[in-house]
Amino acid sequence: MDHKTAEQNSAVEKYLLNEFTTGERQEFEAHFFDCPICADLVRQGAISIDNIKGVFRETPARGAVAGRTARPGSRWFSWVRAPVLVPSLAALVLAAVVSYQNLVSIPRLERPLVLSSAVLSSVSRGVAPVIRVDRKQALFNLNFEVDSPQAYPSYQCEFRNQVNNIVLSVNSGEKKVASFTLNLLLPAKLFPPGAYEMVLRPDSSPNLELRRYDFVIQNQGEDH
């Protein structure tokens, strides 16, 4: 990116408002680290925004929006969410964020479970990867490659089936970085064979879609 393009595209404001994709962000960073004009604008903008935030933190919100600052249920302890459309299964342990290792022992499971090391990337107009699920196990694992343009404190993962019904909604738990592998243990019962997609959104902005992942579930030992 050259300076003229940065100016024409309001790159400084887009950068400060986190409106860039990861690629655009990196491109602009490569520019402003080398461009004293853009570097000054970014620095001054960041200083202004931080001090604006500092002032607002000390000032109580106006009544109309006061409720919005506290989002009940959005914090870390709600990291395991019951699926909206399957209340009868709410008592089941639905999903768990697992440690990234090849062999884990899950509470309430008799046998240790070998986890897949395959990682799903977000949609890139290719063929959706096929995940083979061992139906003898109550849970199976999926790993998602997450590269968010901005580091959010936590993310909401919404799984939809091929008729667009939500089958499961899971919170990622607290994240400290923008790029990571999200390892989920999912209940096999909720994922009969078929095509699925997982939509990733920041917990704090439920209408903002960050990434979309397609995959197909098949039963292990069956070929289609």
Binding site: N51, R57, V98, A151, E174, V177, A178, S205, L208
Partner: protein
């Protein structure tokens, strides 16, 4: 590009310390930094350990690195570690290689080194721990901790400026920056489009910049007069 391997804590002590407290005391940003030309002479002074050149380097790139890193890392400790590691690696390469082929691209080099540090941080952070269900809710320091750019004097200037904005503009800024609300929702609520939202932010930040700049010039003059 050959980079030093990651052994930050062991090597940091061999360079002038860029610890946060020292950074805070000595290199705390002013809104406008003097612009330096990154040329062979500047690189040479860095290699020789010239205090003035190091101070400028740490101050100029320290701010940019924090701004870059905090969008990708939420923990203040991770951000500080990555900043320090970037400084250490850049100085290590400059001193070991005796300079840069294109000194005017020092900024691009710092950015590239920081990208590498970030990638390594992401990789090491992918080994996640399963947290027990009854664990206490962690404090989200990334979102709530006051940044090093915030000072009492600046807040006073910004508070005064915000009081002069229309209720709507103030509310937009609050929802955007403090509540980190979805921008499309803000646009819907205030019946504006995304471009116009950006224009309003641009105007508010421009006014902020002028106010902060003037305030700091006045403070500098007052300090100079008092000495």
């Amino acid at each position: 590009m050959i980079l030093a391997s990651r052994s930050c804590s062991a090597r940091t002590s061999s360079y002038r310390s860029f610890t946060p407290s020292l950074y805070d005391r000595v290199y705390r940003v002013s809104v406008n930094l003097d612009r330096h030309t990154f040329d062979r002479g500047y690189i040479e002074r860095l290699i020789q350990g010239d205090a003035e050149a190091e101070r400028h380097f740490a101050r100029y790139f320290g701010d940019l690195l924090v701004i870059k890193l905090r969008a990708r890392l939420r923990s203040p400790q991770l951000i500080e570690d990555a900043r320090q590691e970037t400084f250490v690696r850049v100085l290590h390469v400059l001193r070991n290689k005796g300079g840069l082929e294109y000194p005017e691209r020092l900024g691009a080099f710092v950015n590239a080194v920081c990208e590498n540090v970030l990638l390594e941080t992401f990789r090491s952070g992918s080994r996640l721990q399963q947290l027990p269900e009854d664990a206490p809710e962690p404090v989200d320091q990334g979102a709530s901790a006051e940044s090093e750019f915030v000072t009492r004097e600046r807040k006073a200037l910004v508070r005064n400026l915000l009081s002069k904005l229309s209720d709507t503009d103030r509310e937009i800024l609050r929802q955007l920056f403090l509540e980190e609300r979805d921008k499309d929702e803000i646009c819907r609520e205030f019946r504006i489009d995304r471009d116009y939202l950006r224009v309003r932010v641009h105007r508010a930040l421009a006014r902020c910049r002028v106010v902060l700049d003037k305030g700091e010039q006045t403070a500098a003059l007052t300090n100079a007069a008092g000495q």
